[in-house]
């Protein structure tokens, strides 16, 4: 597809408009609070409009190909170029990211957590937005890496400044842990740069992800692939996060301000799984095949382990954080099967988890704001004190436990299903065991979510809050939450909205993996 005129700009606009907004906000004095908020929201909304334009202009018949591609010189010394492009895999995630940020801004409008300073808060959210959007459209490894890392600092400050009591420890842990993974990841990127060869054995020395996808690691011997994959695995696996690299997540989530948690759950974690699908598997198919049983193992351990962790939690937010470990386990299981079915389910699961867990964190944040605690034992009777919020919590819990008809189901069930017949010659016996374990995980998911719901929403309000007036969902919250709620129902009722978009890309990836596996 020849990209011309305005279309050459759209992806860059979607990525950098929030950053431009951030720069303008920085120039506005703090005293003009409303103005700077409006500018911030405006820039993210314009980015969203651009996103909508992209979604409309996108050629769904050719969803398997990169569209709106721009390829310009950037760092010529290392042959790194500014390449952005969008296909059916990137589109849903880019849109998710574009939608979540303005909603978070709206939610924060009158709810800037202590110690205040809306200007800095909004600037950081906008920078974060640029990092996330950029990661999903980059087609050059160095560019990807830059965006991937740009995400870190704003989140570090969001947790470290506006977080809870233990914010310093949590933010530093988040930062160092992710950075550690990134360090290994960049080494793997460099290894890919130096070792990749084309079919004729010519060294490529490129960071161009399109080229590396095409060559599919043919020039790299298997043992090397396994090592490079290990580096990528650390980089992405920590971000997902996969058991046993998940311990930064509960701390970060518990301490982060509400919108920090929402963005973390809704978008940031997806950078890891996206990396697996976009980079690790297509670049290194043999490494992927060698690692897949282990990834699957860690995924199902994560499913059970995360659920057990949930059952032990006394803090609502920490419980939701642990549930992310379990849910991302389903996503990783789908990816580990190296099948179309599983990876499509994984992408669906990424979007669904973003909406559902994001929604749960929103509710948790609003409860915290009203009750000034998230200790489950002290809550209770939410349905009585704030009925609408109680209903939303119930709805989101049901979605989270994978109720068919809501979005969560379509990430979970096909992922479990795909493990019945894993691809690329992987052991059926092993993956069928994983399948059963994952299915058992759905029982535990229902257990911890309904138990949480029983303790927080059912019954009478505890004595402590019986006399207190608890405000129900307010206008800002409705505006911020409604798209989440609609999305959960819409994708649940008509899942083809996502499956149709992602299938072409995914089948391309798995086809090349299958071809490699068949060649062995």
């Amino acid at each position: 597809m020849e990209v011309t005129g305005f279309d050459t700009w759209v992806l860059s606009l979607a990525v950098f408009l929030p950053l431009v907004g951030a720069l303008i906000v920085m120039l506005i004095p703090k005293a003009y609070e409303t103005e700077l908020k409006l500018v911030a929201l405006g820039s993210s909304l314009i980015a969203l409009v651009v996103g909508a334009y992209i979604a409309i202009q996108f050629d769904y018949g050719a969803a398997g190909e990169l569209q709106f591609v721009v390829d310009k010189g950037w760092i010529d010394v290392i042959n790194s170029r500014y390449i952005v492009g969008l296909d059916g895999l990137s589109l849903p995630l880019l849109l998710l990211s574009l939608v979540v940020v303005p909603l978070c801004l709206i939610y924060s409008w009158n709810h800037i957590p202590d110690p205040g300073n809306p200007k800095a808060f909004f600037v950081l959210l906008l920078i974060l937005s640029t990092g996330m959007n950029g990661s999903f459209v980059s087609q050059d490894m160095i560019l990807f890496f830059v965006f991937f890392e740009v995400v870190l600092l704003p989140m570090y400050f969001l947790i470290g400044v506006w977080g809870g009591e233990d914010r310093r420890y949590a933010s530093l842990k988040f930062f160092l842990y992710t950075l550690f993974g990134s360090a290994l990841m960049i080494i793997s990127f460099l290894a890919l740069f130096f070792l990749s060869k084309d079919a004729s054995g010519q060294l490529l020395q490129t960071f161009d992800m399109r080229v590396l996808t095409d060559v599919a690691g043919v020039g790299i011997i298997k043992s090397t692939q396994v090592w490079i994959f290990a580096g990528l695995f650390m980089g992405f696996g920590i971000k997902v996060p996969m058991f046993p690299f998940h311990t930064w997540l509960p701390d970060a989530h518990t301490q982060a301000p509400t919108v920090g948690s929402v963005i973390l759950a809704a978008v940031l974690l997806k950078l890891g799984t996206y990396g697996f699908i976009r980079i690790a598997i297509p670049f290194l198919p043999e490494g992927a095949i060698a690692w897949a049983p282990w990834i699957g193992l860690l995924a199902v351990i994560g499913i059970i382990y995360g659920a057990l962790g949930c059952l032990a939690q006394k803090d609502m937010k920490r419980l939701i954080a642990f549930s992310s470990v379990a849910h991302m386990g389903f996503v990783m299981l789908g990816i580990a099967t190296l099948t179309d079915f599983g990876i499509n389910a994984a992408v669906f699961g990424m979007v669904a988890h973003g909406l559902i867990t994001g929604m749960l964190f929103f509710v948790a944040g609003s409860i915290k704001e009203r009750y000034h605690t998230l200790e489950i034992a002290r809550l209770g009777g939410l349905l009585k004190s704030a009925p609408r919020m109680g209903w939303i919590l119930g709805f989101a819990s049901m979605a989270s436990l994978g109720l068919p008809g809501l979005a969560g189901f379509w990430g979970e069930f096909p992922a479990i299903l795909s493990a019945y017949n894993p691809g690329a010659g992987l052991s059926e016996e092993v993956f069928r065991v994983y399948m059963v374990i994952a299915a058992i995980g759905t029982v535990l998911a229902a257990g911890y979510l309904l138990w949480l719901y029983q303790r927080t929403a059912f019954g009478e309000p505890t004595e402590e809050f019986a006399e207190q007036k608890i405000a129900d969902v307010n206008r800002d919250e409705w505006i911020a939450w409604m798209p989440f709620l609609i999305g959960i129902v819409l994708f649940g009722v008509w899942p083809n909205l996502i499956f149709n978009v992602t299938d072409d890309v995914v089948s391309g990836i798995t086809a090349s993996v299958e071809a490699i596996a068949a060649g062995n």
Partner: protein, 732 residues
């Protein structure tokens, strides 16, 4: 045949009603008038279901050419089909084209079958979801079994809607109550017309959620929410089986389409035996949870915490038969998987028979009238599953049909009693109500007789078919099942007599003045009682009708509802009616009533046995404690997972995994401190400083200050390194 092809409007109506009631009910209709929406919707559903049922009978009586599958004797070479001019008959083309029926009638088909095989009406609507390049449609699958269930669900739901206007009147959540009744009806109707197994799963789970919401309707009280959670979680345990079983089916047949799966098995029985066995066992777990079969039945009695009309609709007549319905719908899977045709005992028959037995046993030890009925439901569901297990497909569905009416009547009767007698369900506080509540009493007795299986009430006919089916079986009889079935027949009659004694006879033991319920409650009771008498007429055996010259009306349910298009291929046979079996069944029921009558009314028998006899007392204690299954599940399994295991996992997380991370971080910091102190400052800087030390002693102080802040330094260094790395990457 419009209604059969567009059956989707039937569940759509209550779905719309749900949205209207929930979101606009309070504001635009009025909180106390939302039932109008629900009843109107259900009235429409009932009419449309009746139209669908009528059109289906027409399709069977005068089949259009495309509805008939050409009959081949079982075991024919099906490859021939392609050669002859009748085209493809056996569903080889189902995968691509569902809109069009796939058989051609031709004139005169051989094969020796008395009636032609009628294909279901399958309509698909759109690409619902897709994966791996395959589109999966959403659609409706309508055949006799479907329309039968449509009629059952629509009728009972409508009556429950009407009954509830009085029973739930003034409830604090009247709007939610009606909203969820509507949603439940929609989900159940969606479930019964599922075209593929994914839709089965969706409907299955949605009815479960409605059940959860309605059991926990009065969620202020913890016992209610406990019961709701228990119901949902137990069902989730079974759902593991559902998910895995359905996945195995998918893995074996590479399709979700029920029609294709059934056709593939019935045209080629014997293939994939192992896979079908695994799938059938897994699905059996799901049936056990949803249809209250041992060992997952324990949630059902607790579910009585919900409002009584809900118990009648969901936990007696409709939702709990979803498991039975699923077995019947995917019968070839179970028939081949469990080798029902050739065995004389199998897992399904055993589970069903055993459940029937233990459920009936537990019904004796209950004082709560609803719990007696709940265990009775468990027991009767066991009957149905057992019937399916012995190959008596029609008997099971026939019993499902009759049971729905008389059990709903019994539950609503219990509700009427409670409504009139100070909201108690404790039979020790009732007694003598027959005078005060004549309508409730009469309908209750009629339904009890039907449940007990007394001639000529509905239960007699359906239970007889089940016993007969166990006796004859397919290739072999099922003797153990017959013994179970006979024992249950006796026990059922006995425990229902006990209920009637405690509730309606003797002296009134409560307080206040009980009174008959208003018409809006008794009229539904009479309608259901009428069906408890008449429902048996839908599948009367031929010999009964011959003397009056109506043999053409024999076995209507078998004729219309049985999916012989699949079952014929399996070689399923029907036993000939047996007068002996019918008399034995009747004798058992009568003796059950008689013994109990003598025991309570005439005070004859071993009264006070449990006080005198150690073993009798012990047996009663076991019954009272429900075989200790609840202890096993709650105190042993759930508590272990919830407390020690989860705690252990959490401690492992904090003390091992997280400690490792923290230790790594701290070690790095310590190493940094050591390097800084001894190498950087000590060796390298030290050598530099050594020269200046003499000149400036302040170096000592500086060093100590720096060392004191080493932690901050570490952070700064790390952060700076990261920023530098980024800058480096961008700039270079």
């Amino acid at each position: 045949m419009w209604m059969l092809e567009n059956a989707f409007v039937i569940p759509l109506i209550p779905a719309i009603s749900f949205v209207v009631i929930l979101f606009f009910g309070k504001r635009y209709i009025g909180a106390d008038r939302v039932h109008i929406v629900g009843i109107t919707a259900l009235g429409l559903v009932w009419v449309l279901s009746a139209v669908a049922a009528f059109q289906w009978t027409q399709r069977v009586e005068n089949p259009p050419p495309d509805a008939i599958v050409q009959v081949h004797d079982h075991g024919d070479d099906h490859g021939d089909d392609h050669g002859d001019d009748h085209g493809d008959d056996h569903g080889d083309d189902h995968g691509d084209d569902h809109g069009v029926g796939s058989g051609h009638a031709g004139d005169g088909h051989g094969g020796g079958h008395s009636s032609p095989l009628i294909r279901p009406v399958i309509s698909t609507f759109s690409d619902w979801w897709s994966n791996a390049g395959v589109n999966f449609a959403v659609g409706t699958f309508v055949d006799g079994q479907t329309v039968l269930l449509l009629m059952v669900v629509a009728s009972i739901s409508l009556l429950v809607h009407i009954y509830s206007t009085e029973y739930v009147k003034g409830d604090r959540r009247y709007v939610h109550y009606y909203a969820f009744l509507s949603l439940f009806t929609a989900a159940m109707l969606f479930f019964v017309m599922a075209q593929n197994i994914i839709q089965l799963i969706v409907g299955w789970e949605l009815v479960g959620v409605c059940s959860f919401a309605l059991i926990g309707h009065w969620w202020e009280d913890k016992p209610n929410t406990d019961a709701a959670l228990k119901a949902f979680l137990t069902n989730r345990v079974g759902d593991v089986g559902l998910l895995v079983g359905m996945i195995v089916l998918w893995g074996t047949f590479k399709t979700f389409d029920i029609d294709v799966i059934n056709t593939m098995i019935s045209t080629n029985p014997g293939a994939h035996h192992l896979a079908l066995l695994v799938a059938a066992c897994c699905l059996m777990a799901a049936v056990a949870s949803k249809s209250g079969q041992f060992p997952l039945h324990t949630w059902l009695p607790d579910a009585m915490a919900g409002p009584t009309p809900v118990s009648a609709l969901i936990h007696a007549a409709t939702m709990v038969v979803a498991g039975v319905y699923m077995i019947a719908r995917l019968y070839p899977v179970f028939y081949e998987g469990f080798s029902i045709g050739t065995s004389s005992i199998n897992l399904m028959a055993f589970i069903g028979g055993f459940t029937a037995l233990i459920g009936a046993g537990l019904a004796f030890a209950q004082w709560d009238i609803k719990k007696v009925l709940a265990y009775s439901t468990v027991s009767q569901l066991g009957y149905m599953v057992m019937a399916l297990g012995v190959g008596a497909w029609t008997a099971a569905i026939f019993h499902l049909f009759t049971h729905a009416f008389f059990k709903a009547c019994l539950f609503l009767g219990a509700g009427s009693v409670s409504h009139a007698a100070h909201h108690t369900f404790d039979m020790r506080k009732m007694g003598g109500l027959r005078k005060d509540m004549p309508h409730t009493y009469r309908t209750f007795v009629i339904s009890s007789l039907a449940l007990a299986g007394i001639f000529p009430f509905a239960g007699f006919w359906s239970k007889d078919e089940i016993l007969l089916g166990s006796l004859v079986g397919q290739q072999n009889g099922y003797p153990l099942m017959l013994i179970f079935g006979c024992a249950v027949a006796l026990m059922t009659a006995a425990y229902m007599t006990r209920v009637i004694w405690y509730t309606f006879h003797g002296e009134f033991r409560g307080h206040g003045h009980p009174h008959e319920s208003p018409k809006v409650m008794t009229v539904p009771l009479w309608i259901l009682a009428g069906m408890a008498v008449l429902a048996g007429a839908f599948n009367l055996p031929g010999p009964v009708l011959e003397p009056i010259g109506l043999e053409g009306l024999a076995h209507r349910i078998q004729t219309y509802a049985e999916p012989s298009v699949y079952l014929n291929g399996l070689g399923l046979s029907h036993p000939d009616p047996s007068l002996t079996m019918a008399l034995v069944g009747l004798a058992l029921a009568v003796s059950g009533i008689l013994i109990t009558y003598l025991y309570y009314w005439r005070r004859i028998g071993l009264h006070g046995l449990t006080e005198r006899n150690r073993y009798a007392r012990r047996g009663y204690t076991i019954l009272e404690n429900k075989y200790y299954l609840d202890h096993l599940y709650n105190d042993v399994i759930v508590e272990t997972v919830k407390r020690p295991v989860a705690k252990w996992a959490n401690r492992f997380n904090q003390n091992v995994i997280d400690r490792t991370v923290n230790t790594a971080g701290e070690t790095a910091r310590d190493v940094g401190r050591w390097v800084y102190k001894w190498i950087d400052q000590g060796a390298i800087d030290g050598s530099v400083n050594a020269a200046a030390r003499g000149a400036d002693s302040s170096g000592e102080g500086l060093r100590s200050i720096q060392s004191g802040k080493v932690q901050n330094y570490g952070q700064l260094l790390f952060g700076a390194a990261a920023v530098l790395a980024i800058v480096f990457v961008i700039v270079v």
